[in-house]
Each structure stands twice: as C-alpha cells, then as structure tokens.
Subunit: 357 residues, 4 copies
C-alpha cells in the first residue's frame, strides 16, 4: 500500500503538514556508497524555494534540509550512503501567526478542504495542512537523492505553456531555463510572460501551466510490462503532484491525431530512431531515446476574487483566499516534476537490475 509512499526498490515516504513543526521524507532502498551531502540536496530545494521572485509565494522558508540517517563517512573521508534508510527533514520556520478562523470554517473551491473533511472528519486547515504544495519540498529532497542513483541520466524541466501562452518550440533552448524566473526555455516568451503574469498577480488572479520534462542518458530496457511500465509509473508520479490534471508522454494527446505512418518512429543502425513520438518509451520500456513527459498544472485555487462556497455546516457563503500565494503554481512545479521523474527512473533502474542483472 502506498498512501504516502512512492516507488518499490527506490521507495520514498513523505510526511508533514504546511504549518506543523517539520516535513520530510524517508528514502528507502538507496544503493550504498553513493556520495551524498545535505548541500547537494539543498541545491534542488533552493530551486523550488518560495519567495525567490515576485511570481512565487512570499512565504519565507529556508527549506534547509538535514540528513538524519543513512549516510556515513567512508575510508576516503567522503559522506556516502550506507544502504540504510535516508531520513530527510526540513523544519517549517515561517509558520506565520495568522487568523485561520475563516478557512477553518469555509471550504475553498478548488482546494481539498471539503473532501478532507468529508473523508477524515478532521482537517489541519493551517495553510492547507497535508494537501499544501509545501509537501513537494520533501519530494524535491528525495528527488535529489534519486538523481545520484542514476548519475548517468540528466533530468531537466521547463515551463512550455503559461496560461494560454505556449512557447515557440523553434526557440526551445535549455540554456535559457535558468535565466528567467519561469524556467522558460524560450527567451522571447519569458519576456512576454513577465508582464502577463504581473497582471494576473496584481489582479489577484492565477493561471495554469504546462511543464515539459526530459531525461537523457536512460539506456534501453528500463521499465516492465504490464502494470510496471515506465510511462505508467511516470503518469502516477506526475499526477500525484498537487494541482496536476494531465500527463502525457512523447507526442501525447497529439498522437491521437496522427496516422500510423506519422507516429511510428523508424529505426536505423546504432540503433537510432528517426523521430521520437514515443517519448523514449515503447511497450512500457525505455528505448534509449530521451524520455519526454509533459504535465498540466491547474491555476492556483487561492485567488482574491470572492467565490461561492459552503461552510462546514453546509450553509452557503463566499470566500476570498487571502495570504501569500503563487499566481502560477506551475512555475515551482518544474523542480517537483524533475524530482518525481528522478524517483521513477531510480526505481526502475534498480528494478531492471534486479530482474535482468
């Protein structure tokens, strides 16, 4: 079972609420003797960290990760994994004292408030509790460990659509991604998005996004039929991220409109492929081409416009979600998506090695 765990041989269990004392992850099954420091993990947490530009929530969190277990100093003096579970902890420091009376009583549309109350009969309403996007910090920390497990694989992500505005794929340039606050690979789109999102932000509104992920260096054969397919596990992983409403691999939904001649990637010596509509996965197994996935993030549900809702007693009312929010939560989903892809690949690397040596 896996309420709060992900993966099989590389297995991540996360815990923690938005305004509790801490959140974290336990990474189980990590191979031994992999150099690993908190600093290496911190790099990725810093990419996801709130408050880095005016386009992300102004909550101030250091997101400083501590490694509580599973590492030790080897004969060469390096801190390495031991094969024991790696517990990662991030203290919540900015639990701003605030009046929760309203969201304690009213259900915010688009949030999990109502369904949590209906299911559990109790809800940690402070900042969204367990359903807060803050949980994704634990994923990013775990993903940093996963990257070390598949050290030969390069995993990167980019925002390819903000609201209705898509990038121009002819201008796609990975080098641009770190040069703007949107992880946008298209310099011109990034400039446009800046003014667009400023407007959204100032109006108290929000907007969705599409993120594209790519993993290069994945050898042929990772994955497993029929329910352990690499693409199926990617779908599980990415759809499990807060606010994600769609996942696609390679040509994705556009494949529906193609003919068999257009879609099937022809092969040449190498082996090599003349195209990659498959997104690097056939029959659930990696082909050796880049693994390409995209996922859609809905607009942040916390907005300043009053919305109709009900309260815990079932009575009709309205709510305005004040507070510190991301106008486009999809931006910070980029490192989260990368982390999930890293976890899936680490798991499948170990599973592949287990079954076929």
């Amino acid at each position: 079972m896996s309420h709060n765990s992900f993966g099989h041989l590389f297995r991540v269990t996360t815990f923690g609420e938005s305004h509790g004392p801490a959140l974290g992850a336990v990474v189980d099954g990590c191979p031994p003797r992999i150099p690993l420091t908190a600093e290496e993990i911190q790099v990725f947490l810093d990419k996801r960290k709130p408050g880095q530009s005016r386009f992300t929530t102004q909550r101030r969190e250091d997101d400083a990760v501590k490694i509580l277990s599973g590492v030790f100093t080897d004969d060469a003096g390096r801190q390495v994994t031991t094969g024991a579970p790696i517990a990662l902890m991030i203290d919540n420091t900015d639990q701003r004292s605030k009046d929760y009376a309203e969201i304690a009583q009213k259900y915010r549309p688009g949030h999990a408030d109502y369904v949590y109350d209906a299911k559990y009969g109790i809800r940690d309403y402070r900042g969204g509790g367990r359903s807060s996007a803050r949980e994704t910090a634990a994923r990013v920390a775990a993903g940093a460990v996963a990257r070390k497990v598949v050290a030969g694989v390069t995993i990167r992500g980019a925002l390819v659509q903000m609201g209705p505005h898509k990038i121009d794929r002819a201008r796609f340039d990975w080098a641009e991604v770190d040069k703007n606050p949107f992880f946008c690979p298209d310099k011109i789109a990034a400039a446009h998005w800046e003014s667009y999102l400023d407007e959204i932000r100032k109006s108290g509104s929000s907007v969705g996004a599409v993120i594209e992920l790519e993993a290069t260096g994945v050898p042929v054969g990772w994955g497993a039929p029929i329910y352990g397919k690499l693409d199926a596990d990617l779908a599980l992983a990415l759809m499990s991220i807060n606010a994600v409403k769609g996942v696609e691999i390679g040509a994705g939904f556009e494949a529906a409109a193609l003919t068999g001649e257009e879609n099937a990637d022809e092969m040449r010596k190498g082996p090599s492929f003349l195209s990659n509509h498959a997104g690097g996965i056939l029959g659930g197994l990696s082909t050796g081409q880049p693994v390409v996935a995209r996922f859609a993030v809905k607009p942040t549900s916390s907005i300043l416009t009053p919305r109709k809702t009900i309260d815990r007693a079932g009575e009709e009312t309205e709510i305005v979600t004040k507070g510190r929010h991301d106008p486009c939560v999809g931006i910070r989903a980029v490192p989260v998506g990368e982390a999930m892809m890293a976890c899936v690949l680490a798991d499948h690397f170990l599973r592949h090695r287990g079954q076929v040596g």
Copy 2:
C-alpha cells in the same frame, strides 16, 4: 512490486501471450458474497472482442471466459464470490498458423519488439507476445468483477476523437454509444467517422483516438493523499494500457489555460458544485461529482506502408506489417479503459473502507 499486478486491496494479476495457450487474470481481495457468473463477465469481453465490425481486427476469438476459482454456491443457490482469489481464464483459439519469420527477425517501428529483445534477450514474437493488445482481454474480465464490487457506481466510456476529428460536445449523448461501431456519443460524428475510417483502413494506414470515461455514483472521499491519490492511480491504470500516450482528469490540459476564477468549481448547498473542471477529484479524493478521465491512444503501429527499421543483427532493413489489425485500436480501448477505471474504483472503495470504516 507490480510488474504484472495492479491495485492493492482489489488486486489484479494478468498473464498470457497473444499466441500462447491461454491468457487470464487472478483477482485477489474481492469481497465475499457478491453474485458473479462467467456470463456477466462475458458481456464485457464481447464488447472488446475482435472481429465485430470491419473496423476491428478480423482475428476470430470467442474470448470465452472461465472462472477457475473463488466462487461457490450460496444458500440461496446463487454463485457468489467467496473472498478467495478469482482466477479467470480465456483460451486462445485462433492462433492462426502463420509465417513469423519476418517479425521474428525485424523490429516493427512503434512496437515493443526492439525494447523487449534489448531488455530480455528473448521475445515471443508471435502476434506481439506479452505486449499484444490481446492482454487487455484479461483486464476487461477483471474489470467486470470490479464493477460488481462497486455496484452503485456506473462506469462508461466513449470515443470522443478519432484521428483529428473530435465530436461536437453539444451533441454528446451516451445513448448513441452502443449504436455505432465506434462507441461514439455523437451520431453525426459517427457517420462521418465511418467513411473516414474506411478510407484509413483501405489504405492500410491507421489512426489514433481519444477516449472519455465517466464514473457516476462515486461518493465523496475515495482516494488518499499523497501517492495514493485517486487521480494518480487512474493515470497509472490508463497509461498502462497498450498504446496510450496521455491521460487527463476533468479539464485536463485545458486547465493550464484557465484562470483561477474559471477553474475552481464553486460550491452550493447539497453539497453541490456549479461546474466540474476538477473531474470529480480534488486533492486526490473524490468529490462526489462524476469522475471524468480521458486518454489518448496512438495510431496502430501495424500498417501496410513499408517502414525503415533494423533487424536483430542491427542491420538496416524495411518492414511491412501484414496481418489482421485494427485501423483504430482506440475503438477497442473503450471497454479496456472502462475496466481499468472500474478496477481503480473497486480498489479505492476497499482502501477507503479499510482506513476510515
């Protein structure tokens, strides 16, 4: 682990190859005292069965299912489940004697031939072996059992796009779905698709499709954060179907283009919702609204046009995939998608009952 198993409390394990003696499924965890006969399962297998129109493969299979275990006669004389694993078996009868020399040696683009050989070093090439769409018969059989577990839930599917041609959503009518060979809910589109697909078929080509699934009657609260989300498990389930390249829930990829005001479904007394962009799932839990998912199926990779490829020795060559194939494999994916949704819901029903009573 779950190479060939799906689900946790309602757990399905499938086995079998396209041209082996039989294929089947073991359904474990089914609650006891549910009336179940082979005939009830057969109804759904017949929907998926090949050879029912000129638009599906002409392979002739009875797809007659046998229940080998897990049922017994109760005091009222009905055949009911006992709580023991239900083994379902379907004999392969039409293992047409055929020359497999070509596909034994050459990799069909878009198929799993190359990756299976690369991973396992051995491949049952007859009709695609384990990676054949024939495996989905076992899923449909298991899904029929799942439907009985969630008897209050109605699960249905429809083809909403064939190739580039989408239905007109204003004409969406579930009553139309069984009146045409495409499971198309739009009468006018169905008529158009008939001539369109005939052309595709005659040219030896193929085309993709998008299927929409809906489950009504799902109560609020099924699902579980963070990695046991109902939508994440649906994504896993649907992406695990052969040839699927994308999955979305509710507004799906279109949610990316919406603002927060447009996307968040407002609530009224009942509780009721003023819209269903969420597709019936928030925070990974069902909201009580219809659960809506869509998935994209790529065009059948087996086509009559010669394609460039390599052989097992790595040498460049060409291949034409002769034989009996579906010009739009998405059509028969409709009952398969329904079955997977049923399995996910049965599993989450039991998991919900386990955790919260």
Copy 3:
C-alpha cells in the same frame, strides 16, 4: 497487499480450491532466458503428490502441471523464460463425488471452517476449499521455478521429528531422505516411524512433525534490514504453510538457553565460521554459511475420533472427519517447505541484485 501473493521481485500468486476445476500459480518477475520445462516442475510436484505411500492421503491426483505463459523457444531451440509472468495450472482430476452434507453444516475442530464462515459468510466446504493443503501444490510448482532462478543454491528438507520422536542428529544423512516414505535423514528412525505411523493411521488418529530445511550455496549478503530480513521472510513463508505453528532459524528456541559465548559463531579466515548457531543469517543478511530453518507442523485435524463441535446455526454437535487424509501431514510438508525457501531465496537474490548490483 498480499492476500494470495508472496514475494516482491520474485512474486508468486496462487489460486484455486481443493475441488474446483483447477489450481495454479502466476510467477511474476522471473528473470529471462532461464531454461524451464513442465517436466522440471513436475519432478517436485511428484514429491508432494498424494497417494504415493500408505502414509499419505489416498486421493489420486496426477498433479500434472501446464505452463500457460512466460516461456518461449530460444535460438538454441530450448524452452526458456521470457521475463513475462509464468502461469502454472494443475487440473483437479479426482474431485470424488461425495456427500458433503455433514462438513457443510458442521465445523471441523482444527480446521478453518468456522473462521471462514465467520469472516466471509460463505465457504467452499468441499475438501476444505481454499484452505485445503491441496493449495500447496501451487507453491511447489512455483518453488520449482524459484530453484532455477537460484541455480547455484541447493535447497533440501528432511523430517527431523515425527510426533514425539526425534531423529538422532549423529545419524543425520541427507542420502537417506529419499530412501523412505518420510523424508527421514536417519535410517533407524525411519524404520521406527514406519510402525509408529502405521499404528497412528490404523487408529484413525494423526500426529505432528518438525521439518528441517537447509540451503547451501547462498552467498553472503542476501536479505535486507529491518523488515526485509531474510530470516523474517523465511518465517513469513513457512508460517504461511497450512498447519505450521512454529518456525526457527539456526539454533532457534534453543538459543534462548545459551550464553553469549556459546551462541556467537566465531570467525576465521576465509571467511569461515567455527559454528552455525546463526543458521546462516545475521542481522537479517545471509552469512555465506548454510541457511538452516525448521518448522513445526501440527497433527492433521481430520481424524476418525468423534470431536465436539458446533454447526453453522451455533448448535452443539459432534463430528467425525471421514475421507482420505494424511496421518502425518508433516511428511508432505517437506517439499512444500523447500519450495517456500526457494521462493524466498529467489526473491532476495533479485532484491539484492537490485539494490547493490
């Protein structure tokens, strides 16, 4: 979850009832390219098969196993595993027509009749249904596959105690095991047991037993802390066999009476050990010494002496269990125990390879 599945990377799911049409197992995760024929599996089924001496049930079953999937002919013309799930099926042929009226209504003491009815509200009472020892045929078939996965390991078992009569360990000789109908490694004890068990059998009584298992050739390091320990998984595996009431590793319960000096196995170059109280397992990991486990089987509950019980209505009554039964079900538990040990080792071999390469 794992109601009817066992193992993680080498995963066995069994199905079937004593008097249903068939029983079987699906073996998932088996590595590819391992030569495997039904005949090789049959050898182990024949060891467990009923009716081979007057000391086992006179039910006549061929126990002929069929491989339904997961194997294919390789380039060398051998039938080998493909990495796909291996479905194994054994038809039930001797479903003797018999009056089940009594056991349908009365609970046999020591059997699962009462608890199944209480839990499931329905019970396949024919020959014990799912709780029949017949289910172990499926385990033996799966175990035969497992042995091929750990081809370098030799797994064997022996009956070391029948009723109160233990073997003389000084006379322990593996070569004797196949020379008597009890899998007894002590020639003199075997002779004694023959007359002893004849008496038990003629009186309609039954008796328990202790089985010892040994695996040689297991390299150091299989297993995993803390809940994936090799000994813990052996305990799970052996305790899951019908009628087993105790499991021990190495010195087992006798270790309680030892001092630290006596118990801890000293090491010498090689590495080698000066003793094996640990039974080849320390900290949950194999040491490279023989893995030694024992398990206790209770006496067959089906006896000819009338026993007090209740019926389905809760009324007090008596029952005599007529029919074909083993006077010492522990005898046929020897190949079953071997099979379970083989499955555990195959699983841990793959898990070890997955985590540490």
Copy 4:
C-alpha cells in the same frame, strides 16, 4: 517492497542509526480522529528505555518522542490523528564519545558487522549503526499508535524463559509482570532470575530468553489466506526483531508431538473453545480466542570474553566487546514484541474492514 517498512494498511517505516542524530518512524494509514499524544506513546518507550535497572544497558537516553505530523486539534480540543502520516522522532542524546577504532576494523561475532560490510561495502559501526537494538525504540513508538487503532484489544507480554530457566506456568500471573525488572509473570522465578542474571552480568557474559505475547479481544475473522495469514504476519513481525531466532503460535513446536485428538480445539456454543492449542488462529484467521505467540531471543552477542574473529582485511584476530550492554537483551524485547503484535493487529483490523466491511 519493504526493506524498512512493515504492514500494508497500517504501515510503519523506521529510520535511524544508534549514534546518528535521531531515529524515528513514519506511521502511514492510521485512521483519523483517534486521540493521540506524545505522552501516550512515551509510556511504552519508557518501558523499553535503557538504564532502568542494572539488568539493562547503562546507556542514558531520554527516548523522548516528538510527533512531527499527522495530528491536529479537533473541535473538542483534543489532539487527534488526521489520517495523514504520523512522523515520530526520537533524538539520540547519549552518543558517548568513544573510541570506535576496534569495532570499526574487527567483526564482532554474532553481530551484523561482517554481513553489512560484505553487502554494502560501508558500515556505520558506531554502536551497531542501523542494526543496533536501538532501532526498536522506533518500533515501540509505532506500536503505541497501533494500540490506539485496536483500542478494544489488550496486548501484553512476559518473559517466560531466561537462559535455561523457564517459569512455572501454574504460577503465571500477569499482575506480576510489572513488579520485577524482567517482565516475569512468575514471582518465584523472578526472584531466582535476579541472582542468576547478576552472575551472568558480573561475569561479562549474556543469556537468551523466550517472550510470550497475548492479545485478547481480537474478534473472529482477522487475517487472510494464503500469504496474508495473521500468524504468518506475526512470524514476519517477530522474526524481524533483532536477535530473534524462533517464533511460535499457540502450542507451537510442542504441537508436533501431539496427536490430532489432543491438538484440535473442540468447540461449544458461544461459540467457545475447550482449549487453545491454535493460539487463537486457524487457517490464518483469528478465532476469537486469545492470540498467543512466543519468540526466542538469542543471548546478547556483546560479551567481555575474548572471541576469535577476523578484521576487515580478512586477517584473524580476537575481539572483546566493551561498553554498555544488556546481559539479557530479551528483557527489553518484551515491549518490542508487544509493539510488533500491535502493529500486525492494527494492520489486519484495517485489512479486514477493507475486504469484508
């Protein structure tokens, strides 16, 4: 997979090493709205805590547990579970500065030193690292949560054998268990053990033990055939505790010496049973009688007598394990065994509710 996780619906993942900054557990799947405070958990940790008598290690640890997540204040002002994962953390405070040079280089017989090095190529040798009995503190904390989940069940344990000295079962009195430092239910045995263990302790030796566990209040029907048996899961749970070498249920190994007449527990109206050789479990399901299990703990491997061993380079040497050790580690295994039984029962309660409602 489950290297460091235990259970399915009630799922415990532990982490931490003996001399790392902290150890802990994440409890996933706990039902909501169960009152839970750190103080309630602390009660059980205090039972296990070292340094409480001269018969346990003199290491000084507060073992103060913190709840990091998964609880919230309900409308009645009580702290209750929310259904989210409950992270429990215990800081290591007494990481006594000490020279580890010897155990870093030499393998202590009976410990996991050699096998960890062989498997992982790296070993946290400080106090045994991950394989230290200190890990069991996390189990006890998780077990305290489990007890709340099965609030109607009473779980208790007692030491019934120390070294070769068994209690007199006629004097078995649960009221005595908390009146002596051994959890001994036999007042006279306890007095005898005191002088016996003093002698063992002073000589720098150690001794094993047998612990008996009993759960009353378990209703009929928990558990699941065939691999999800309640007894099999108890065996897994108890065998996973450090130093355990044997597990038995009910009559256990003594059942082997019984006849069918003696062993099968007859039934009377109620339903009730005339005996409990089954230890409250038949066919893997609870019978409604007390669930009775016993497990054997080997003598502490750390002793003052020099023992032959090898060093990391494979060279022969001797080692004396100085430091703070339990002369009979079985004593502190009592609360650990109780905790594991509680976890198994909580898991099976939820699994039972999931499958049969």
